[in-house]
């Protein structure tokens, strides 16, 4: 095989081209770009959930919750009760109480069934005798009679202990120690008389009533088993006492007598409620009178908090047993509660909670779940909610200290009822505003109701807002003020004009300044307010037109709080903003300000995701801003953006793209300088990026745009920079934390680059022809790429393609107004010679690659490369020349040697050649045949 073949490119005659053609105004292969806004921030997760839900296991925590629910329903509500599902309503409340009422205080538990506790003191043990004594004492400690007090428990430890007691009850029951189970039940309910850590009381109530329910179920299940055998599907609702055998009735009676003789009132009441459902074994008719009696007996509980929760449990038990029939009891208990309402506000009680450092509103908040539950049942029973509401409201008006009840009333009734009476309620609040404690809660829930109003009458809502403002501006606690502001601002946004909202915003600023504390202390609440407003205002853009909005947003001073605020505002703004472009200069400058805050927050320690989000938000802003035909201003804007957002690569990339787009938009007539400016902008901006690959891409793009605009110098500069970067491109880049190979992208960029070079006019001042290309080829030689790398030899093949195309008399395509090399040189022989020389070198290099592939036993690659090269020689080379002909023949032989001729590509090439009636091709074919025969 001769080692050296001189390359000669074939000149194609264009005249042969006889396909029908017509002129077009836009490039036919260009992708159609439509700018539109997507409102699908939530969709992707939903989509994923939708598809994966069938396969997915439920979250384990959720599953426990569901299991609990099923257990509850399974045990009590197999029989479908019409109307409201009380057990479900209860379990949601149960969870929310446990979440809401927590404490960091130390708790105390008194029980004889828990290990540890005060008695188990660790002593210095000196001699053996003492040791034995000590051990014996420890053994004694497990004696039932010793009641231990365990103090200093954290909330978590308390819960663990309660759960232990729950298990203990079950264990005792299973080991036939029923009386022990009963005693544990009593001790647990006694814990509910301890109000030493009040803010935990509601949660404690839930935990302990769970134990009582367990106990009640144990007794019930045993009686059921005794009556109907092991496996029966009897429930509370379908047991007929006539079918219960006498022995079971006797057992039931015994439990009742035992319960009735409990000395203390509170445990007796709780235990009676827990055992109430066992009445179905003796006489179902006793249940209702018993509930009525219990309702009045609760009056004996002096502490209103304990009593209120006792009433919840009574109503809960009643609802489990009687379903909808229990609703009258809810109402009765509510009335009882209202009778004792003033008890809550008495001095001894106040002293108690003040001793625990509770404020009055916190204390009153403890009652909310209780009143809420009572109202829930009451509301369900009453068909005419309006009159009930009027009646209760009337009662409320006549009461002293009505805030607690009013608050619960407002939150319990549905919006329809509340909205109708909003002015009256507001007046009530207004008249007591100075000494009302839970004013924030009342106002907030009233506001929430109003937000649900579809269309409130205009002038009425104006007067409502005025009254509200009078109350709100007088509020002492800033947190409360913000809490109230949140829903009311939404109401104002949806029902009143921008001016009104602006007035409120100004008032808010005044309030915040007057309150004397920096706004940062309330930044959380503050954010809620702003977010709510952004979400509720009909037209988001209008917000920025209010003069009070931006000062309000910037009221917080610390950079952290500001950043959060800016981020919140921007993300909501963009998710709600409906049109594609932002034109209003005020809006633009406000958004610019916010973006700057966001950008300035980024520093060396910012996590990657964080800056990614910031980048996305700022990008959205940049893409949306438009100055229509004022291209100069647009460019100025981009310049300003570059200086403001220099830290974010993602933003710079967007800017380069935006400027390139702008550059294309500028028409040549008066935009020549603008195009130059744009090109300069890009050329200056790209180097400050970090990622080499992105830089290469952007250089290429900017160069192409410059070329398109006939800014040859700029284009050349870009391409030169690009070539300079090629050696620095890493093999792998980090993308989303994963290492990804770059060669596919690099290959794409390079072939794109090479095809662009066809259009680029040569630098005639340069000392060599085909200045950029030769630079490229030299760089290629300089980089020590692995020869067997596909990227390497495909690039070589592409370069070969380009070189052949460059030798043509007229090029395949042109850019209007750009003078390409075909026109520039007019197939000057000196130019052609240079190109042919390069071709020869490249061809030579490719042959070396072929050999290297063969050495490496990579036959498949070798085969493909041989065919590729063969095809190029046949199509692009001039077969008149001997070296070309023999090169072609040798390549074919090589390919045939490696693999049989049945290969599809080889076959296709061959059939194409056979159709060709060029004499040189015929000659080649003949030679090939001979070659095949020789072997």
């Amino acid at each position: 095989m001769p080692v050296y073949y001189e390359w000669t490119s074939a000149k194609k005659s264009r005249s042969k081209h006889n396909c029908p053609s017509f002129e077009v105004t836009s490039y036919p292969l260009k992708a159609n770009v439509i700018t539109m806004k997507e409102h699908s921030s939530n969709s992707i997760i939903d989509q994923i959930n939708k598809w994966s839900s069938g396969f997915e296991e439920v979250d384990p925590l959720l599953r426990f919750e569901q299991m609990n629910l099923e257990e509850d329903i399974g045990a009590l509500e197999v029989e479908k009760i019409e109307g409201v599902n009380y057990s479900k309503a209860w379990s949601t409340r149960r969870v929310s109480i446990l979440n809401k009422y927590t404490t960091g205080e130390k708790l105390t538990i008194v029980s004889s069934y828990l290990p540890g506790g005060e008695k188990a003191l660790i002593r210095q043990v000196s001699n053996l005798n003492e040791k034995v004594k000590h051990r014996l004492e420890q053994l004694d400690d497990f004696d039932e009679s010793s009641v231990r007090k365990t103090m200093g428990l954290s909330q978590q430890e308390f819960v663990t202990n309660i759960n232990m007691l729950n298990d203990e009850i079950k264990k005792a029951w299973e080991s036939e120690q029923r009386v022990k189970a009963f005693k544990i039940g009593i001790q647990c309910s006694k814990l509910l008389s301890d109000i030493s850590v009040m803010q935990f009381y509601p949660s404690k109530f839930i935990l302990i009533t769970d134990i009582l329910d367990t106990f009640g179920n144990l007794v019930f299940d045993r009686l059921r088993e005794k009556s109907f055998g092991l496996n029966n599907n009897k429930t509370v609702h379908n047991i007929d006492s006539k079918t219960v055998p006498e022995s079971a009735k006797e057992t039931c009676q015994n439990w009742m007598y035992k319960m009735a003789s409990i000395r203390e009132l509170l445990p007796r009441l709780y235990m009676e409620m827990a055992l109430l459902k066992c009445c179905v074994f003796t006489n179902r008719e006793e249940i209702k009178p018993a509930i009525t009696r219990l309702t009045t007996m609760i009056r004996g509980i002096g502490n209103p908090l304990v009593a209120a929760y006792l009433r919840i449990y009574l109503c809960h038990t009643a609802s489990k047993l009687l379903g909808n029939e229990s609703e009258a009891f809810f109402y009765n208990n509510l009335k009882e509660f209202l009778h004792e309402y003033q008890q809550i506000f008495q001095t001894p009680i106040r002293k108690k909670y003040e001793m625990q450092l509770l404020t009055q509103d916190k204390y009153l908040n403890l009652y909310v779940p209780a009143v809420d539950w009572l109202l829930f049942g009451t509301l369900n029973s009453n068909k005419c909610k309006n009159s009930l509401f009027d009646e209760l409201l009337q009662q409320c008006e006549q009461m002293d200290n009505n805030e607690l009840f009013l608050c619960c009333l407002v939150s319990a009734f549905d919006s329809m009822c509340v909205i109708k009476r909003a002015p009256k309620i507001l007046d009530m609040i207004h008249s007591h505003a100075d000494k009302m404690v839970m004013i924030n809660e009342v106002l907030a829930s009233l506001g929430e109701h109003l937000c649900k109003a579809d269309n409130y009458r205009q002038n009425a809502s104006e007067s409502l807002i005025q009254t509200w403002w009078k109350i709100a501006s007088g509020m002492k606690s800033t947190n409360h003020f913000l809490q109230v502001l949140e829903p009311w601002l939404q109401f104002a946004c949806t029902h009143l004009s921008t001016q009104h909202v602006n007035v409120i915003l100004r008032g808010t600023i005044r309030y915040m300044i007057k309150c004397g504390k920096p706004a940062d202390e309330f930044s959380g609440n503050f954010q809620f307010v702003i977010k709510r407003m952004l979400k509720s205002i009909p037209d988001v853009e209008e917000l920025f037109l209010m003069d009070a909005f931006m000062p309000l947003v910037e009221l917080v001073q610390t950079s952290n709080a500001r950043t959060l605020m800016a981020k919140a505002v921007l993300s909501i703004f963009f998710s709600r903003y409906t049109s594609v472009q932002i034109e209003d200069p005020i809006v633009i400058s406000s958004l610019m300000r916010l973006c700057c805050i966001l950008h300035d927050s980024i520093n060396a320690v910012t996590v990657e995701d964080e800056s990614k989000i910031c980048g996305e938000l700022i990008n959205k802003f940049i893409q949306a801003v438009s100055y229509q035909d004022d291209l100069e201003r647009q460019l100025n804007f981009y310049v300003e953006c570059r200086s403001s957002f220099i830290k974010l690569d993602a933003v710079l990339i967007t800017l380069v793209h935006a400027v390139n787009a702008l550059s294309v938009r500028a028409n040549t007539a008066r935009g020549k300088w603008l195009q130059r400016a744009c090109a300069a902008y890009c050329f200056v901006t790209v180097p400050s990026l970090h990622c080499t690959l992105t830089k290469t891409q952007l250089y290429l793009l900017s160069g192409q745009v410059a070329l398109l605009n006939n800014c040859i110098g700029q284009a050349e500069a870009n391409f030169k920079a690009l070539i300079g970067l090629i050696p620095d491109i890493p093999d792998y880049i980090l993308e989303d934390g994963q290492k990804k190979p770059t060669h596919v992208k690099v290959g794409g960029i390079l072939s794109d680059f090479l095809s662009t070079l066809l259009l680029l006019p040569d630098n005639v001042d340069g000392n060599c022809k085909a200045y950029i290309l030769s630079g490229f080829i030299k760089t290629m030689e300089r980089i020590h790429w692995k020869r067997t790398e596909p990227l390497y030899y495909t690039t070589l093949l592409h370069t070969l393609d380009l070189l052949c195309e460059l030798t043509q008399e007229t090029y395949a395509h042109h850019i209007e107004s750009v003078l390409s090399n075909d026109k520039l040189y007019g197939s000057d022989s000196e130019f052609i010679d240079v190109l042919e020389k390069y071709s020869t070198n490249i061809c030579q290099e490719l042959l070396i690659v072929l050999k290297a592939l063969g050495d490496n036993k990579e036959t498949k690659k070798q085969y493909n490369l041989a065919l590729e090269l063969f095809w190029r020689v046949v199509r692009r080379g001039d077969l008149k020349e001997r070296p070309m002909l023999s090169l072609a023949a040798n390549l074919w032989m090589l390919s045939q040697k490696i693999q049989d001729s049945n290969n599809k590509i080889a076959k296709a090439i061959m059939s194409a050649l056979q159709k060709d009636n060029n004499p040189h091709v015929r000659q080649l074919l003949q030679k090939l045949d001979e070659g095949v025969k020789n072997t």
Binding site: Y257, R263, E264, L265, L266, M297, G302
Partner: protein
Amino acid sequence: MSTNLTIILKRASKVYHEGETIAGVAVVESNSEVRHEGLSLTMEGMVNLQLSTKNVGIFEAFSNSIKPINLLNTSIELAPPGKIPPGVTEIPFEMPLRARQATSPGYPGLLETYHGVFVNIMYNLKCNMKRSFLNKPLYASCQFFVQYRQQDPAPLKPVRCEINPATIRASSTSGGGSRAPMPQFQIYAEINSTVCALDKPLTGKIRVDECSVPIRSIELQLVRVETCGCAEGYSKDATEIQNIQIGDGDVCRARDIPLYMVLPRLFTCPTTTTVNFKIEFELNIAVIFEDDYLVTENFPILLLRSW
């Protein structure tokens, strides 16, 4: 080779009225054949009286414990001497519950079962299996309860009272002269009837209209008064049966708080008066103030077995 003897009554509650028949089975459980000299069943009822040491001297109380009064004593033969096969053998029986013929004046007839401190009225079934010389006889016993038949309800006898510093005697306040002055209070209490049916709860209400100090607790105390008499003298003792809290903490003023007490079984019976002993009941309402100051009001009550 163990043999078990038990008595099982047909009626789960084990409560019988005079004139009824007590039916049940004696169960012999053994893994081998049992040879016996006769199986008999005895039904007996007794009143045990005891003098308390408070009223008479210890020595007298010890020596003079009064002879038990026999109310009932009948026996029947369940099986003649013979053999009982291995396994579980049930021997049914029926015995009419009838009082012994009155032999002496003042003999009370059948009384209700009652467990007290100084007076106990108990009824037992005893099964006795006599066995051969080498084997110990086997015993089994089973308590059953006697109740009077329900009478027609007696007319209600409600009582009302007001408790205030003026109405109470100094002795009922548990302190001496050194105590702080009595607080100002006005309490109203009402018991629906002092004649109560044993099966029905005792009900009433109490209302604290006014009280200058916080209340700690309001309690309802059921007390039995047992009187035992004999030739040498008699003793009368009041002891607590049960104490039930009806108000916990400083209750709301001017609110009716229900009084409600289920009368415990066995420890109560209809108020009884015989020649030898008396069983009476009383109710105390106690209001305890925060500083342990205690005010009580006493009501004698009459318990009846009625509807």
